[in-house]
């Protein structure tokens, strides 16, 4: 598994946690073949709006930061 798909998997896990499996599946399709920057920007956008800046950063750090380039 390459770095991008690891990041994608973590992003999908985080989206699933808050937005449910069905939304996460749509995001999974959308992220296919997209660069890391698109994945991190998209996740950051929806998480900040839903969780607020502080919590979104905390969750993104926990789920995705170790994999982000």
């Amino acid at each position: 598994m390459n770095q991008t798909s690891e990041l994608q998997k973590s992003a999908i896990d985080l989206i699933s946690k808050y937005f449910g499996q069905s939304t996460a599946e749509v995001y999974d399709h959308f992220f296919d073949g997209e660069p890391d920057s698109v994945i991190t920007t998209s996740v950051n956008e929806i998480m900040v709006e839903y969780l607020g800046e502080k919590k979104a950063k905390e969750e993104i750090d926990k789920f995705m930061e170790p994999l982000a380039i």
């Binding site: 699933s16 946690k17 808050y18 937005f19 449910g20 499996q21 069905s22 939304t23 996460a24 749509v26 995001y27 399709h29 959308f30 929806i46 900040v48 709006e49 839903y50 969780l51 607020g52 800046e53 502080k54 919590k55 979104a56 905390e58």
Partner: protein
């Protein structure tokens, strides 16, 4: 202000006006038909929105359980209405309505606890003044509920089952106090986010419900059809509307996120 918030608020004002003007005079108000609109709407909204949530999502699990608890309260109100107005001969205490009313407490408890663990609330990091306010409010409400809702409702002359149900309802309110306070702490974790609005609306709804329950416990079971009862019933109606509004708004946000990404997917791929 959002159009949906205006609709909910306008509906509440219209119901309040009807209550103040015709509480004992117009059958639709005095027999509880108008009162029933709010819990039925809450139950229907709760059942409708549950289709978007799944148990395998932490946040979805919390939302689903809260929606289920709200549906239980709505069902309890419908049964109460039917027993009061349609089949009064079957109106015994305790009834099936009491069962649904009590069933909601553990379901809400599981949902809010799930929300609390998902938020990962760290008590040491919670704002001190918020924590102090939450604790003070919990203590005052606990004393009121423990005295009026648990201690005073026990009737040694009633049968065991009736006492278990009445005391359990009071104990349920005690649980609701803890749950309401947890929702405030959860909301503080999501400061600035849409999810904070959801939890704040839940906290307000549960708090209003508690106010009405405490008023009911202080008042006793004898309805006097006065201003006290008007305020008490409006507090319950307000609570149902707030809870329904919170659940609906959260659902609409999640649906919009899903719709947006589907549109992007269709556009890009």
């Amino acid at each position: 202000m959002k159009i949906r918030a205006i609709i909910f608020f306008t509906f509440f004002l219209a119901v309040a006006a009807a209550y103040f003007l015709w509480f004992t005079e117009v059958p639709l108000v005095s027999d509880g038909t108008l009162y029933l609109v709010a819990p039925v709407a809450a139950a229907l909204i709760a059942l409708y929105v549950s289709r978007i949530y799944r148990f395998n999502s932490a946040n979805g699990r919390a939302q689903l359980l809260i929606a289920a608890g709200l549906a239980c309260w709505g069902i309890a109100e419908i049964i109460t209405y039917v027993l009061n107005n349609i089949i009064p001969e079957a109106n015994t205490f305790p009834s099936l309505a009491n069962f649904f009313l009590l069933l909601a407490f553990p379901i809400f408890g599981a949902g809010i606890y799930q929300g609390y663990t998902t938020a990962g609330v760290k008590l040491k990091q919670v704002n001190r003044s918020l924590l102090f306010t939450v604790l003070s409010a919990s203590i005052v409400l606990t004393i009121l509920v423990a005295y009026f809702g648990v201690n005073l409702v026990y009737d040694p002359e009633s049968d065991l089952l009736s006492n278990i149900v009445t005391v359990s309802t009071g104990l349920g309110d005690l649980v609701l106090i803890i749950l309401s306070m947890l929702t405030i702490l959860v909301a503080s974790e999501y400061k600035g986010g849409k999810l904070a609005s959801f939890w704040k609306t839940m906290a307000s709804g549960f708090f209003l419900f508690l106010v009405a329950d405490i008023m009911f416990a202080m008042h006793g079971n004898e309805y006097t059809e006065d201003m006290y009862e008007v305020v008490m019933e409006l507090a319950w109606i307000g609570a149902y509307l707030l809870l329904a509004y919170g659940v609906l708004e959260n659902y609409i946000h999640l649906s919009a996120v899903q719709k947006n990404i589907k549109a992007k997917l269709t556009q890009d791929k």
